[in-house]
Symmetry: C2
Subunit: 226 residues, 2 copies
Amino acid sequence: MTTRAAEGTDVPGTADQRREQMLHAALEVISARGYADTRIADVAERAGVSPALVIYYFKTKDQLLTEAIRYYEDTWYAVGQSRMAGLPTAASRLEEIVAMTVLPEADPEPVSSLQLWLDFWAQAARNPEVAGVRQKSDERWREVIGALVLQGQEAGEFRPVDAGGFAIYLSTLMDGLTIQIALEDPVVDSTRAFELSMQFVADQLGFDWKPGRRRRSSSRAAMSEG
Amino acid sequence: MTTRAAEGTDVPGTADQRREQMLHAALEVISARGYADTRIADVAERAGVSPALVIYYFKTKDQLLTEAIRYYEDTWYAVGQSRMAGLPTAASRLEEIVAMTVLPEADPEPVSSLQLWLDFWAQAARNPEVAGVRQKSDERWREVIGALVLQGQEAGEFRPVDAGGFAIYLSTLMDGLTIQIALEDPVVDSTRAFELSMQFVADQLGFDWKPGRRRRSSSRAAMSEG
DNA sequence: CAAGTTTGACTGAATGTTCAGTCTAGAAAA
DNA sequence: TTTTCTAGACTGAACATTCAGTCAAACTTG
């Protein structure tokens, strides 16, 4: 009773929904307290259930956290895909990717926090499960970027640079910027990071880009469910 | 008794040496087990002392770990300075910085492991103490890079680009690469990372650079003590 | 110099807390 | 009724930190 899922669901929970609700709660807690300091009790409380129920669904704490991270990555990726789908040019799709990565306001799911990524990486260093997720993630994004570059080149938007190499540069740069922003570096805030990235992209691919618009891409609800 | 400090010291311990010995042990343990899973008992064992002594020197576990990180950063910076001191051109000094960051073989102190940085960042997200260290660290390196660029420009080695902006790009890029290498990304190993970075540097600053040498910069002992 | 005294490094054995995971049993579906 | 969910109370282990001292070297002081 008194179930109060953030998104409005109020029924006791239909297995899969329950799971998702908990994963969601887990992400909130991780992003608030850090991976290591996330206790089952926290997640349970956030989800409005008993700790025992959390264990009932995820055999162990480790599994919970691991799955939470996988869930996050998948959601993030799906949101990215769906956002890009609405955009006409390769350049605008690239811009969307950069914005998603670097502007916390244009955020998928209420679970914000770039800090999650820092925990994610640190965890990947020791936990093979997490390492797998993170590697797949990186590969996916590099492929997306690479494909976008090729598309742009075919359309004559971009100059002919090595797409794979560019993908590595850009994704690496954005990882680095993520650190800066997450840690609130005074020199590199997210607006600056966005501009730096786009300047780099435009410079490398040879198209014009001026800062100024953006800042928060309205509040499109992005992906209603599933 | 049976004290067996790694570096040869055998005396019971002279306060400051003891501290340093423990900080050193702490870094080894952190880099092996991760920040969160580092127990006082581990550090004590590694240092060959009792857990109680560790607390005797550092009031709390938190203080120990925090100081260990500060110690690491300082050492790292000092090693960097001393290595650069021996090099003639701005370009070679830049190359040394890149190598230090990205090639684990050219490593300061036995405490290898780029993974330390991942823990470091994740920790900085929550621990203000660590956040301070990390920010100072970043600033220092950006200044070093910026100054190097200016030197190179005065000497006519480099083309006139904005030094501060370049420093941000390069340090960010190297942060990103650190992640890749630490997590053993199959696409970006440290050799590749080194080449990517140097290519970027040479490209931006307008000098020639070809891969090929390097790989491990001999085993100069770098900074004997203090 | 020898006998006493202080001081700081150091330890082993508690202590107390914090959690992950278990167990029992009740409620709700099927 | 049987199966699936769910909760509350509980347990056991893992640790950080404390405590009450030991030990030896470094100072006294006669």
